[in-house]
């Protein structure tokens, strides 16, 4: 019952008028960002992080988490009405959402998506509440060796589960780590990698500069290149009779909701997986367990509910390792982590002891955010339909201005703005060549922790490398990391040895 007490204290913080106001604003902005094709939660959080300097740190994080949440709901809107996923996390929603809209059931599809999101969000927040404190307690025993092993483990999940080219993934992780070492050496205090003594590099490369570049400018370039023709917006009106019909139809998709919630939550916790694969997996599971699998792809309600439940559950799931261990479960939570560090709130087990009111305030705000998101989503559907008609040039121009001004704000250096432009162009080119960008951003955020824990552990052990394998928890992490590192290789070998069977099994495990 201790948890309930904590949660009540948390609500005392998150229901303050200011926090409630930023929560409402965040959810609404998030819904819009999610609905815009090309912009998802990670872009929204990257672009809007600088403007949160306006409010105290706790409110800022609540705002950003609310954007994260809202964007997960919003992604479904353009998936259904445009047939284009509003964010990569809503790809699976297009499979049945678009056919439903074409059959004239756009309203029903939107209701199903909103309710599915709500169920997924709520189930996962409850799970989150139950797991957070125990996990933080376990993590309290972690020393530098365990921290290093854990970061290593987080990176290797990208190799085993990321699904991208192994060489390119490794390269992006390494590039992120190297970029994170720019600036002053943590231990000796000497400057390094400052590129011919450019003073702008002394303070290092901020995660925000990389994120705004890659997810702001790079994503805009990508969207402009991909959208060469205007998509057609499907009309959608919601009548009360439809609302009732919507809720009745949902009774039949309880199973899809249950599996979507659990799958989403646990897949979401893994750094490499996150909401997009979770929603695809939930779609697959819903299809294979459905009584009418032939309906899928032709406008089945369950086909909308399952991925939407899963992507919301995953977004909560990815917050769990971020808050309790300091290891983000997704690119968006990596940005939240970077933001929290910037405000002096170091995520990890100590946060639960030092700043309990903040931690529980944030957790309790997720309950409220969920409730508001579903209400605002359903109430403002006409507004979202209208906003989908905003021409891309106008939208992209405003985002670019926000990137320039927002990039300048944190450190007030034009140096950062030039870097953002550079990272934006580089990010666009890398994206085009299928280099995964999430590991790059994650590595830049986790780089300092990784190097610090490696060197602290070695200094504590007087330079003895065996410290990483002598401590049981650290050894376990390293063993799993090694296994994940070798997994792509093993898969390849199996494909060579048993061509037919292995191909099928690797597809089911991917």
């Amino acid at each position: 019952m201790e948890i309930l007490q904590h949660l009540a204290d948390g609500f005392a913080l998150s229901l303050l008028p200011l926090n409630l106001a930023v929560l409402l604003l965040g959810v609404t902005v998030g819904l819009f960002i999610g609905a815009m094709p090309g912009l998802g939660s990670v872009n929204g959080v990257a672009i809007l992080l600088p403007i949160t300097f306006l409010v105290p740190p706790a409110s800022a994080i609540i705002f950003l988490a609310a954007i994260y949440y809202g964007a997960m709901y919003g992604g479904a809107i353009s998936s259904i009405l445009l047939g284009i996923p509003g964010a990569s996390t809503a790809v699976a929603t297009t499979f049945d959402g678009r056919p439903m809209a074409q059959k004239g059931q756009a309203g029903l599809a939107l209701i199903a998506a909103a309710v599915g999101s709500f169920v997924g969000g709520t189930v996962s927040v409850v799970l989150f509440t139950l797991f957070a404190a125990p996990l933080a307690d376990v993590a309290l025993a972690f020393g530098p060796a365990e921290e290093f092993a854990l970061v290593l483990l987080a990176f290797t999940t990208f190799l085993a589960l990321g699904g991208d080219d192994v060489f390119k993934t490794v390269l992006m992780i390494l590039l992120g780590l190297v970029l994170s070492t720019v600036g002053l050496d943590l231990i000796s205090g000497q400057p390094r990698l400052i590129f011919g003594d450019l003073p702008g590099f002394y303070s290092g490369i901020s995660f925000l500069v990389l994120a705004i570049g890659v997810y702001g400018i790079g994503e805009i370039l990508w969207t402009i290149e991909q959208t060469q023709h205007k998509p057609q917006v499907m009309p959608a009106r919601i009548r009360f009779s439809e609302l009732a019909a919507g809720f009745r139809a949902l009774g039949t998709s309880l199973k899809a909701m249950a599996s979507g919630s659990l799958l989403g939550y646990f897949v979401g916790m893994l750094p490499a997986a996150g909401a997009t694969p979770a929603s695809l997996m939930a779609y697959g599971v819903a299809k294979s367990t459905s009584r009418k699998p032939e309906q899928f792809g032709k406008g089945a309600v369950e086909g909308v509910v399952a991925p939407e439940t899963a992507n919301n559950a995953a977004s909560t799931g990815s917050l769990l390792p971020m808050l309790t261990l300091g290891i983000p479960g997704s690119p968006t939570t990596a940005l939240l982590l970077g933001g929290m560090v910037m405000w002096g709130l170091m995520p990890g087990p100590m946060l639960f002891i030092e700043q309990p009111e903040f931690v529980w305030g944030l957790i309790s705000s997720l309950y409220t955010a969920n409730l508001f998101a579903v209400a605002i989503n359903l109430a403002l559907i006409p507004l979202f339909v209208w906003s989908l008609r905003i021409p891309l040039p106008v939208l992209s121009a405003l985002v670019l201005v926000l990137c320039i001004v927002g990039g300048f704000t944190p450190n007030q250096k034009m140096h950062d703005v030039w870097l953002i432009a550079g990272f934006g162009i580089a990010g666009y080119l890398l994206h085009k060549l299928d280099y995964p960008l999430a590991p790059l951003v994650l590595a830049l955020v986790l780089g300092p922790l990784m190097e610090k824990s490696l060197r602290q552990a070695l200094i504590a052990a007087q330079g003895d490398v065996t410290t990483f394998v002598e401590r049981p928890i650290s050894a376990t992490f390293i063993a799993i990391a090694l296994l994940l590192f070798l997994l792509p290789l093993i898969r390849k070998l199996r494909r060579h040895l048993l061509p037919g069977r292995a191909a099928a099994s690797s597809r089911s495990s991917a």
Binding site: I51, F53, L54, D165, F167, K168, V170, L171, L174, L175, L177, V178, T181, D185, I187, S188, Q190, R192, L193, I194, F195, I217, I220, L221, I224, E225, Q228, P391, L392, P393, V394, S396, A397, L398, L400, V401, I404, V405, F408, T409, Q412, M414, V417, W418, A421, G424, I425, Y428, L429, L430, K432, L433, Y435, E451, L454, R455, L458, I459, Q462, G463
Partner: protein
């Protein structure tokens, strides 16, 4: 496509060598009893980067010899024009901020961008170009107290500062 892959891999290989040279400014070896030196972490990561980029390069090069490559263009001509407009106007806007300040550069950028990128009418363009800087001014300068660079237009803002601060 293949050429772009090769160029990128080659560029990343060059970048890692460049990082290695710079990282070597600090001790990169093992210091007795204290673990790696200050330059070791970036140095050895750059070495691994070189290997990974080299792997990508070799794989593409082998593919080039074997099947004469995929001849899919890296980017279509129409899209290239748009991407170049965005990149060009963005870089020009940032350069202009140094010279004439954010409050001249941003409207100029908006007018050029909106007219060049798509069918946005003059009325809408003018409206956006006028409203955006005002919103930016009130949000960043008045509320957040963060002064954006103004270049040679700085004197024009002195009466405004007197009014709001």
């Amino acid at each position: 496509m293949r050429v772009a892959e090769l160029l990128t891999a080659a560029f990343l290989m060059g970048l890692s060598v460049y990082f290695m040279i710079h990282a070597a400014a600090l001790p990169i070896g093992w210091q007795q009893g204290a673990g790696p030196g200050g330059g070791a972490f970036p140095f050895w990561l750059s070495v691994m980067m070189l290997v990974a980029a080299g792997g990508i390069f070799l794989r593409q090069a082998v593919g080039l010899l074997a099947e004469r490559g995929s001849r899919r263009p890296f980017v279509s001509r129409v899209a290239l024009r748009q991407v170049l407009i965005v990149v060009g106007s963005l870089l020009a806007a940032i350069a202009l901020i140094h010279l004439v300040g954010a409050y001249v550069a941003i409207p100029l950028f908006l007018v050029f961008y909106l007219r060049a990128m798509g069918p946005v009418g003059w009325r809408q363009t003018t409206l956006l170009a006028l409203i955006t800087p005002v919103v930016v001014f009130f949000f960043f300068e008045v509320t957040l107290k963060i002064l954006l660079p103004k270049g040679i237009t700085e004197p024009l803002f002195i009466p405004l500062y007197a009014l709001f601060f």
